[in-house]
């Protein structure tokens, strides 16, 4: 009970304090510091107007500075020092060197890259699919709110939900995890071939085709067949992107072959979260499950913003529903797709709760944020932990720069 009173009084003090600050500081400014009367009335008003914005901004600026800007600098500093006894010594990049010599770090980096590609792509794709499909049916809004629902669930709650799905029982007991129950239905027959070989193969092929298309779209302006070529930086970025896409496409094709050659352990319940490499995907599914709703809501609004008559014009031009979707609608909402993609990318870079709750980084599922948490609060190695935090910051920076650049462009 006392806790509730404590919280309530904090709210009262916090809110009251804020109001009091703003009211009193404005009053002070207008009545005492620069009163709008007397011989200097005009000058005083101007001065008061020049000061007032800073009165309005002050609490926010202090909070932002103290809680976001200062820590970035402080973390950067901490990553360069080592605590030795009670003193801190500057050690240069030693922390980074130590970090990069750890295999756990590289495992985290690899997994983070995996997350970085898979989660935003899958969430955006599913979100786009859900948005397009639900926009066309009468009960679409109901469907939307169900798909959107996981947004409200905490990462930890979601982890519990999915842990039940992935649960494993010994082979002679009834399976209580949905995934194993489904898995045990497959015995190598026709359905197994259809669902476990052909379907994934088609999916992989589709992704590979999409990637190939991406390579082509990126290279087309560089090769000079249409459109302007742009600056050298743009060309290099395009080449880099194309190379990455091409590499991914090759991986997809490699997996495609793998789907048909691998022997599947039919009839044996699997402990999904301990299968190295693939268990990452089972963790990612949790985040995809959560983020798809976000992507869907934003993309659905964007799709509705596509002018109806461009779609009608396309119908008259003879486009079928798929062509309308991919050649008329999607290009028009490309900007929004990028926004959704980057937003989810940021979420992915910070992902921590899911890994902590599901595997705690065991079985090769470590990610940077959890690695960093381990270093800070389990190994108490502030130096290496800060170095890991700086790596996350570094990965976020391109998006940060891009966002700021866009915002400035928009304001002009």
């Amino acid at each position: 009970m006392s806790q509730a009173i404590f919280a309530l009084s904090t709210i009262a003090i916090g809110v009251g304090g804020c109001i009091l600050y703003f009211y009193a500081s404005n009053l002070f400014l207008d009545k005492v510091l620069f009163p709008a009367r007397g011989p200097n009335a005009g000058r005083n008003i101007n001065r008061a107007e020049a000061v007032r914005p800073w009165l309005f901004l002050a609490p926010a600026l202090i909070a932002l500075g103290l809680y976001l800007a200062y820590p970035v600098v402080a973390t950067a500093w901490l990553s360069l020092v080592k605590e030795q006894g009670a003193t801190r010594n500057f050690v240069g990049l030693a922390n980074y060197a130590q970090m990069t010599s750890e295999s756990k770090f590289w495992e985290s980096m690899r997994n983070n890259m995996l997350w970085l590609f898979v989660v935003p792509a899958a969430s955006t794709a599913f979100g786009l699919l859900a948005a397009q499909l639900t926009d066309r049916i009468a009960w679409g809004n109901f469907a939307k709110s169900l798909i959107f629902m996981p947004m409200a669930i905490s990462f930890v709650g979601a982890s519990v939900i999915w842990k039940l799905v992935y649960d494993t029982r010994p082979v002679d007991q009834a399976q209580i995890g949905l995934l194993n129950a489904v898995w045990l239905q497959f015995g190598g027959g026709v359905w197994s071939v259809l669902f476990l070989r052909i379907l994934p193969a088609l999916l992989l092929a589709a992704i590979a085709v999409g990637l190939a298309w991406g390579v082509w779209a990126l290279l087309r302006p560089v090769l000079g067949s249409g459109g302007s070529r742009g600056s050298l930086v743009v060309v290099l970025l395009r080449l880099l992107g194309a190379a990455v896409f091409a590499a991914l496409a090759v991986v997809m094709l490699w997996w495609l072959v793998g789907v048909f050659t691998v022997t599947l352990p039919y009839g044996q319940p699997q402990t999904w979260l301990t299968i190295p490499f693939w268990n990452n995907f089972f963790l990612m599914i949790v985040l995809i499950w959560i983020q798809t709703g976000f992507a869907m809501v934003i993309l659905s609004a964007a799709l509705r913003g596509v002018p109806e008559d461009t779609i009608e014009a396309a119908i008259i031009d003879g486009a079928n529903p798929f062509q309308i979707f991919f050649r008329i609608k999607v290009p028009q909402i490309m900007g929004t797709i990028v926004v959704v993609w980057t937003t989810i990318t940021i979420v992915v870079l910070k992902v921590f709760d899911i890994v902590l709750a599901m595997t705690n980084g065991q079985w090769e599922t470590q990610v940077l944020a959890n690695y960093m948490y381990d270093k800070f609060f389990r190994a108490f190695d502030v130096g290496v932990g800060s170095a890991a935090a700086m790596v996350i910051m570094l990965l976020v920076t391109p998006i940060l720069v891009w966002n700021v650049w866009n915002a400035r462009k928009e304001m002009r």
Partner: protein, 361 residues
Amino acid sequence: MADLKLIDVAKGYGDVKVLSNINLDIKTGELIVFVGPSGCGKSTLLRMIAGLEKITGGDFLIDGVRMNDVPPAQRGIAMVFQSYALYPHMTVRENMSFALKLAKKSPAEINAAVDKAARILQLTPYLDRLPKALSGGQRQRVAIGRSIVRDPKVYLFDEPLSNLDAALRVATRIEIAQLKESMPNSTMIYVTHDQVEAMTLASRIVVLAGGGISQVGTPLELYERPQNEFVAQFIGSPAMNLLDGEVTATGAQTTVSLTGGGTAISSVPTRESDKGLKVRIGVRPEDFVPTDGTHIYQGTVALTEALGEVTLLYFQKDGDKAGIVAKLPGIHNELRGRVVRLTADPRKVHVFHDGKSLLYR
């Protein structure tokens, strides 16, 4: 060749009927204009012809083939939208070639068609631009160009000029007229709410009102011999004046004595039995002439608007006397506040009974 035939075409949403009993024959080479007040269903009718709205009753034929269930792309039509509906992510060239690409035409064929259309519409320098880098008039031409390259049997225009400013509107109107001249074998249907566009462009005008066709005819037919009061008032600006009266003399010419005082003689013939019939006569403002003899209307000029070549005289409503507008050549500001008597040539006096012209009985 493209003859269009609409037989008892209707459109309803559930129980609500927005259009019914639309019967229309459109011959190859015509430029038909649909006009009517907003909400009369003219755009809906056009979209039904395009296939963007389902036809819920009757039949629609192109060259004798029933089109009701044919998808838009296979009807041999092209449409120019009010907002142009250019694909914003495609260059002018891509916009114009999109339909041909979907139809799997060869690149050479596509380029030839696009280049030709661009030449006609003077868009050649802009082919590699995105729509956002074009002016309103250029966008409009791209929209038209996108239709031309498909070489359709029927062109549909949905208020194509309403997003342009006044000067550009006149210029583009003339361009469309010239385009029509250069393509004598194509049929065009044009929707507008602007009667000037209708009068200047149309080979025939379809006036739509109240969910049906009010009158179909050449512009001059509609102007000179309107079938009903609605068309009479819709065509021409300011609108035709209507005055209540009673037939007093019949024959080759009809004499109507008007409720507000005054007598009108019309060259509309009437039968002996029409004597005593309650009618309304209609006189266009520009057909009034001042007179000292028998008058159709006598009243005090409440307001004058001198437009230069003509002056509009506004008469206020006064008891039984209706308020009317007259248009006199020249400048006549001095008439304000004066009593003026007006009459009109009997050939210019229309007679309506129950809303319909006695000319068409």
